[in-house]
């Protein structure tokens, strides 16, 4: 699975995710990637792209939960994403990338690793696996 989230200097957000699914999956099986609110979601507050074990991500409505925690509980992007990855999604199944309208970035995961990279206007860049 691959994904990208971006916010421009006006605070406009977008999310995109694409995948081949699971090895040896049944023909016709749909994962979290194309399900709005599970593997992919964006609104005026944040943009989220998730990856990992699709069935667990769908059950936990991962992407929408991050946005909802920010919208209804006033959590920061990092707090919301950390809560969803550490408390909602089963351990070892989920990673996500997210940006907020104010230019925050977070890339938490509860698997062994996640191929990821990010950059912000104030000069921070990161590229990591584990």
């Amino acid at each position: 699975t691959v994904g990208c989230v971006a916010v421009d200097s006006y605070g406009h957000l977008a999310a995109a995710t694409s995948t081949g699914g699971l090895v040896n999956k049944m023909v016709g099986r749909i994962g979290d990637t194309p399900i709005i609110g599970a593997g992919t979601y964006a609104n005026k507050i944040c943009a989220v792209s998730a990856t990992g074990q699709g069935d667990a991500i769908i059950r936990a409505t991962v992407a929408r939960d991050v946005a909802a925690l920010m919208e209804y509980k006033g959590l920061s992007l990092k707090e919301a994403a950390d809560y969803v990855v550490e408390e909602s999604a089963p351990k070892g199944t989920t990673g996500l990338i997210a940006v907020s309208a104010t230019g925050e970035v977070t890339m938490p995961f509860n698997t062994t690793g996640m191929f990821r990279a990010c950059a912000t206007e104030d000069g921070h860049t990161e590229l990591a696996i584990w």
């Binding site: 699975t1 691959v2 990208c4 989230v5 971006a6 916010v7 421009d8 200097s9 406009h12 977008a14 999310a15 995109a16 995710t17 694409s18 995948t19 081949g20 699914g21 699971l22 090895v23 040896n24 999956k25 023909v27 749909i30 990637t33 194309p34 399900i35 709005i36 992919t40 964006a42 609104n43 005026k44 943009a47 990856t51 990992g52 074990q53 089963p90 199944t93 989920t94 990673g95 996500l96 990338i97 309208a101 925050e104 970035v105 890339m107 995961f109 698997t111 062994t112 690793g113 996640m114 191929f115 990279a117 990010c118 950059a119 912000t120 206007e121 860049t125 590229l127 696996i129 584990w130």
Partner: protein, 185 residues
């Protein structure tokens, strides 16, 4: 706080001893895609254009599980899916079950912009792709020797595998609970 971008190439049970010949090409691609996205944001492209641009590049890289390099179904076929969403309008597009479309993410965007729907799948999505004239290839274009091998391993173990599991998920076994020492993901 200004612009920001993040991208991923999949999560899972990525072994710490991943050999350099598998780790480095992925890191090179992530670095290239990050720079491409940053340059597009600096050029004031819309976030929608930026995320589509970056995911297209990742789809075209055979080291990632999307587009070329997609993992295989139990029938040894490729079924690709993608989704794109614009935060301002909440417009979104999604596709599933693609077998010939080179960039699923661009077809998802066309679903969002050229149809009254959000989601097209399987033969309907393939027909829409032809109607829109997006680039398509023979399904064999997307199949790599490495993924044929991975399917073989998964079949021998009668399991399904997430992006990077070294130990596939047993089909009949539910993943260990949250406090389990999960090797899944």
């Amino acid at each position: 706080m200004g612009w920001a971008i993040a991208l991923h190439g999949g999560a899972g049970d990525i072994p710490k001893d991943l050999p350099p010949e598998l780790r480095e090409p992925r890191e090179v691609c992530l670095r290239y895609c990050l720079q491409m996205g940053v340059d597009a944001l600096k050029a004031h492209k819309s976030p929608l254009d930026v995320v589509e641009l970056v995911v297209r590049e990742l789809e075209n890289n055979p080291y990632f599980n999307a587009g070329k390099g997609s993992v295989l179904t139990s029938n040894g076929t490729v079924e690709m899916e993608a989704c794109i969403m614009d935060g301002n309008t909440k417009n979104c597009g999604a596709v599933s079950g693609l077998t010939t479309v080179v960039n699923a993410i661009s077809l998802a965007r066309l679903v969002m912009e050229k149809t009254p729907h959000i989601y097209l799948a399987f033969e309907g999505a393939e027909a829409f792709a032809r109607e829109q004239g997006v680039e398509t290839m023979d399904p064999s274009h997307f199949i790599t020797p490495r993924n044929i091998e991975r399917l073989k391993q998964a079949k021998e173990a009668n399991r399904v595998q997430v992006d990077y599991n070294t130990r596939p998920i047993p089909k009949d076994e539910k993943p260990p609970g949250p406090n389990g020492d999960s090797q899944l993901g």
